[in-house]
């Protein structure tokens, strides 16, 4: 039964697809059938390692394009101290970027380095033909195979090795992108980069040092240790970040080699003005996150309007922060405060009615230790300061301009010790003037014992050029008692 319905479905499919083909053919003939485009001349393809891409085809005619791709098995660095034996197209992961145009006739040379242990091949998704070239390109170590194909469909395509076990060849880094531009090339942009995600499975957990062998079990279970852009953790961060200038349009050729995981590609702080969905011809606009399937791609474009560092992530976000799927785009140029102001105000947030609320207070009426020395009080006070006061008044008591007044050389503090004690005990809000500058902010009431208030104030008074005024627990107790009761 099942078999028959399967056959039926197949026949249906054939009918549908053959109908589809006729429709497409008619359409294509109006333009020009790429399969029939004549070629003029011959050239060797420029191949680039990520994040670089070769120059656009521009308005060049369709040509015979010779691609020389060498397969190299070599040890590389996954992240600091972690080595991995990568299998590569052209010595990089992802492999060399190939840029071609519709109508080109590609003469593809695949060369398997003699030191390699394994046979390899290549399946280019841009190929129309069985196996995408895999059968014709199956090559033993120390040998070379050549095959030809005509580029018919435009778009951004993945290529990968398809030798058994295919999952392992891909998991070890054997994938890359081939871009097929339309006649005349894609519209020019200011910056173009090559970004490709991949997941890796190692015997040791993330970050475990040494040479880490591939773990087949984890790969089968899709339990990735590393999810990275361009073959390793940090391939596009710090000094390796990709760059652009304010006002430029950036185009990213984004691929996903897998072997297993689908990418939710996102650039933090940017909206994609255009996405060539799945690397094809349909353009979506104003996209936040685009899905890049394993064995698929997308072209994203955006104009950078403001300077700063924009983070490229797989928005399956633990992959970004715990497995390595993080890159950086550094944009330089002038600020545009209309588009993005930066922080303009910072203050304490008190929800409605909180001024009447208090932290659960444990009336700390412990026995006052009168034997404690001043230096010990200051030391204890320092600890309280770093726990309680530091966030607003800052490490050197300098405060934060326009938000929190300074404690260093503070006239407000040094003028009246009682006001200082009151501020700690009861909090302080409304406009005050400190060293000639007006502040209108809120300090919350601190839940500290008399002893603790004394200690922290002694610390503050003995720092940063303040008056060294001594505050005793008794003084604090007196202020607490006088507190409007």
């Amino acid at each position: 039964m099942k078999k028959y319905s399967y056959v039926g479905a197949l026949i249906m499919l054939i009918i549908i697809s053959s109908c589809g083909n006729t429709a497409n053919e008619n359409k294509a003939k109006v333009k020009m059938d790429p399969a029939r485009m004549a070629i003029q001349g011959e050239m060797e393809a420029e191949l680039t390692a990520p994040p670089k891409v070769p120059a656009s085809v521009g308005d060049r005619s369709a040509k015979k394009l010779v691609v020389n791709m060498e397969v190299i098995e070599e040890e590389g660095e996954m992240t600091d101290g972690v080595k991995y034996v990568y299998w590569t197209f052209g010595g990089s992961v992802p492999g060399s970027f190939i840029r071609t145009r519709v109508g080109d006739e590609i003469e593809f040379h695949i060369k398997n380095h003699p030191d390699n242990k394994l046979p390899h091949n290549i399946d280019l998704h841009a190929v129309t033909g069985p196996g995408g070239g895999a059968t014709s390109s199956f090559v033993a170590p120390g040998h070379e195979k050549v095959f030809n194909f005509k580029v018919i469909n435009e778009g951004l395509f993945v290529y990968h090795c398809a030798t058994a076990p295919v999952g392992m060849h891909i998991a070890n880094g054997m994938y890359g992108l081939i871009l097929v531009e339309p006649e005349g090339g894609l519209p020019p942009v200011d910056k173009e980069y090559y970004v490709m995600q991949g997941d890796f499975y190692t015997k040791g957990e993330y970050g475990e040092p040494g040479v880490q062998p591939f773990d087949m079990k984890k790969a089968v279970e899709e339990d990735a240790d590393y999810v990275v852009f361009n073959g390793k953790v940090g391939s596009m961060t710090g000094d390796n970040a990709i760059t652009a200038n304010v006002g430029e349009t950036v185009r990213l050729y984004v691929g996903n080699g897998g072997p297993n995981l689908v990418s939710s590609f996102h650039v933090i702080g940017e909206i994609f003005d255009k996405v060539y969905i799945e690397g094809g011809s349909v353009i979506n606009k104003n996209v936040q996150t685009t899905l890049v399937p394993a064995g698929g791609a997308a072209i994203v474009e955006f104009k950078v309007d403001v300077p700063g560092t924009f983070i490229l992530v797989d928005h399956s976000i633990f992959r970004a922060f715990n497995k390595g799927a993080l890159g950086m785009l550094k944009v330089e140029g002038n600020e545009n405060r209309t588009i993005y102001s930066g922080t303009i105000q910072e203050g304490i947030y008190l929800p409605e009615g909180t001024s009447n609320q208090e932290m659960p207070s444990s009336e700390k009426e412990e026995a006052v230790n009168t034997n404690i020395s001043m230096s010990e009080r200051i030391e204890l006070g320092k600890q309280i300061y770093s726990r309680t006061c530091f966030a607003c008044h800052q490490a050197e008591g300098q405060g934060i301009p326009n938000a929190f007044p300074p404690l260093a050389k503070s006239d407000y503090l040094n003028k009246d010790v009682n006001k200082a004690i009151d501020a700690v005990l009861n909090g302080l809000s409304g406009e005050i003037e400190v060293n000639g500058v007006k502040y209108n902010s809120v300090m919350t009431k601190q839940n500290l014992s008399n002893d603790e208030v004394a200690n922290v104030l002694n610390y503050v008074y003995n720092q940063w050029g303040n008056s060294k005024k001594e505050v005793t627990p008794a003084m604090v107790k007196a202020r607490r008692s006088s507190e409007g009761h």
Partner: protein, 259 residues
């Protein structure tokens, strides 16, 4: 303790000479045949392997040099291209000089199938068949068939990933229960009928064509890793031709079991 080991050792020797009946002559061991299920074969059923003799070690560079001296038609300069491609003995300085950087006890590589076949013939031997080779190679130190063991497979897989193992000397990997060394971990090895495996190199297609083989082998989960290790060997065999001379590919000889 030492005494206990000595007793066990002599006991093992006794077993090996009486029960298995190992003939150590010409550095070969006796492999008692049996039936096994290969990953690929003529069909999905079990394959019967007859008793045979197998070299303990792969043929070394020094041994091969000796062969070339006695058979000058197999020197680098004299060999015909249809019998060995341009990589034949490529690291040798000249017809009779090994590359001194690599030990004479390392396995000979960069030899074609024709060369390997003739070497064995000159010793009164022959190349093992795929089934003989695979049968002998599914053993580890203690078991005739260690393939279901994930550690055994992990060991093989990790070698497949390690570049440049061909510089190591013979005997540097483990000795299996038959007394054979280096079936895994040193170099690939030629087999008599290597090209009877029609692997197109398009693994997805191959998987499809041989689907019944996979199902036939039963519990899919348990054999996943085993299949992967074997897959790589078969893929390799499928990628080579008889005149290819590959840096990671050596050989050893086999022979009919003497009665």
């Amino acid at each position: 303790m030492a005494l206990v080991f000595r007793i066990i050792y002599s006991f093992l020797l006794l077993i090996s000479t009486t029960v298995i009946g190992v003939s150590q002559s010409d550095n070969m061991v006796y492999i008692k045949g049996g039936a096994y299920v290969p990953l690929y074969g003529n069909d999905s059923s079990r394959v019967v392997v007859n008793d045979f003799l197998l070299d303990i070690y792969p043929v070394t560079r020094a041994e091969y040099l000796n062969f070339v001296k006695n058979n000058p038609e197999w020197t680098k300069s004299a060999v015909k291209r249809i019998f060995a491609d341009g990589n034949y003995l490529i690291s040798w300085k000249d017809d009779y000089t090994l590359n001194q950087k690599i030990s004479g006890s390392a396995p000979i590589t960069n030899v074609s199938w024709f060369a390997a076949k003739n070497y064995c013939k000159a010793q009164g031997k022959r190349l093992p068949t795929i089934d003989e080779w695979e049968f002998a190679a599914m053993a580890d130190e203690t078991r005739i068939d260690a393939r279901p063991d994930s550690l055994y497979n992990q060991y093989i897989l990790s070698w497949y990933e390690t570049p440049k193992a061909f510089n190591k000397e013979i005997g540097s990997t483990f000795k299996n229960i038959w007394g054979v060394y280096d079936l895994h971990g040193l170099v690939w090895e030629w087999t008599q009928d290597f090209n009877s495996v029609l692997l197109s190199g398009e693994s997805r297609k191959d998987v499809d064509a041989d689907r019944n083989l996979f199902c036939g082998s039963g519990s899919i989960g348990a054999t996943d890793l085993m299949n992967y290790a074997a897959f790589m060997r078969y893929a390799f065999r499928g990628s080579i031709k008889a005149n290819y001379s590959v840096k990671n590919l050596g050989f050893r000889c086999a022979n009919k079991a003497q009665k």
